[in-house]
Symmetry: C2
Subunit: 219 residues, 2 copies
């Protein structure tokens, strides 16, 4: 919850109803719509549900379960969340929300055994891309070049590390700060797909390619 | 919320915290775990989050958006939810929950213009299968015959209507009442996949087959 809207009536109402301080809340358009009008880039914000679906999709794939996928979340405020291998995030939004609030407060989530499960650090998108050091950075966007999922996933084949960048916001496009770091950017459908659908399809095709399955036909 | 546990402390607590009557709540293991011990088949229940993810996955696909997919939910208590073509359910769990509570109370959700968006009716799994009248009823289960997603989706090709049945519960298998209605049952992964991942993969392969794309390689 950004400080400058913590005193807005819609935030205060939500706070008294839930017993949570504004500093312990995720900005959420479902509750704080009225307060969000004051925020810059407000159309890109307040949608933790989109991040929840996107993470759930990626972390439920055999690719991730086999340790062949690293997952990062970069936020509008230049925070970078690093997800540990084999992490499962809760499907219950109530539990997910609690986890994310803890992460933003403590900057780390550890297992009972002390292993780091999620970590929050300051970092621009450029610095994240540098740290990852991928051979290719591929953007997925309706504004990209039309291609098939199979071909886009195929970019990952034959190179060590390929990063796929998917926007976790309800509409619009990547910011200039993100775009300048992207290599090719592709669109994989005539429809504007939800982030989680793009993730499901790209990762499934990556798995097929790893198994040596190729497509033939009207692509 | 089943009547016989509406008086349990964990349900009463949740009720006083949210201001909702037990009759206006969805049974949810995140909140009502202690109360659920008294319920038969409790391990299969109280997971509206799984249904939320599964619906979101199906309703976000181009296949559904193009009107080539009908979606039904059959519940453990023999209720059948029929989803209207082109329906979008909210990604926000808070909003989804409100919608489902309204549906269980009013048995129908209509748009402002009076169009039916969701309908709840009494009905066994057998009666649902009869009503749909599909040419094939294909089950997806870790207990099924190992196959590829591509081959399983291929069953839908060349017949008028094919139904895919996916379990929306956290573990275990279809009940006998469901199993007796299934034609072939397949497993599409060495991993026990989440319902939403199975849905994403089957529907994506159905789309590819409709576009005339086939696989070749090590399947």
């Amino acid at each position: 919850m950004p400080d400058n809207i913590a005193g807005h009536p819609s935030v205060k109402n939500h706070s008294s109803r839930t017993g949570l301080k504004p500093s312990e809340m995720l900005l959420d358009r479902s509750y704080h719509h009225a307060a969000m009008k004051r925020l810059p880039d407000s159309w890109k914000r307040g949608r933790p549900d989109i991040v929840h679906f996107a993470l759930m999709e990626a972390l439920s794939t055999p690719l991730f379960l086999k340790g062949r996928l690293k997952v990062y979340v970069h936020t509008v405020n230049d925070k970078v969340i690093t997800i540990a291998d084999n992490l499962r995030v809760p499907k219950s939004y109530f539990r997910f929300e609690g986890l994310m609030v803890s992460l933003f407060r403590d900057r780390v989530i550890k297992s009972d055994e002390g292993a780091v499960l999620m970590e929050l650090a300051d970092g621009s998108f450029s610095s994240l891309v540098n740290d990852i050091g991928a051979d290719k950075i591929v953007g997925l966007s309706t504004a990209g070049v039309q291609s098939s999922v199979h071909k886009v996933a195929g970019i990952a084949k034959g190179i060590d590390d390929c990063a796929f960048v998917i926007g976790g916001f309800p509409s619009g496009h990547f910011s200039e700060k993100v775009t300048k770091n992207l290599g090719p950017t592709y669109s994989i459908s005539d429809f504007g797909l939800e982030a989680h659908v793009v993730i499901a399809r790209i990762l499934y095709e990556c798995e097929l390619l790893e198994e040596g399955v190729h497509h033939e036909g009207n692509e």
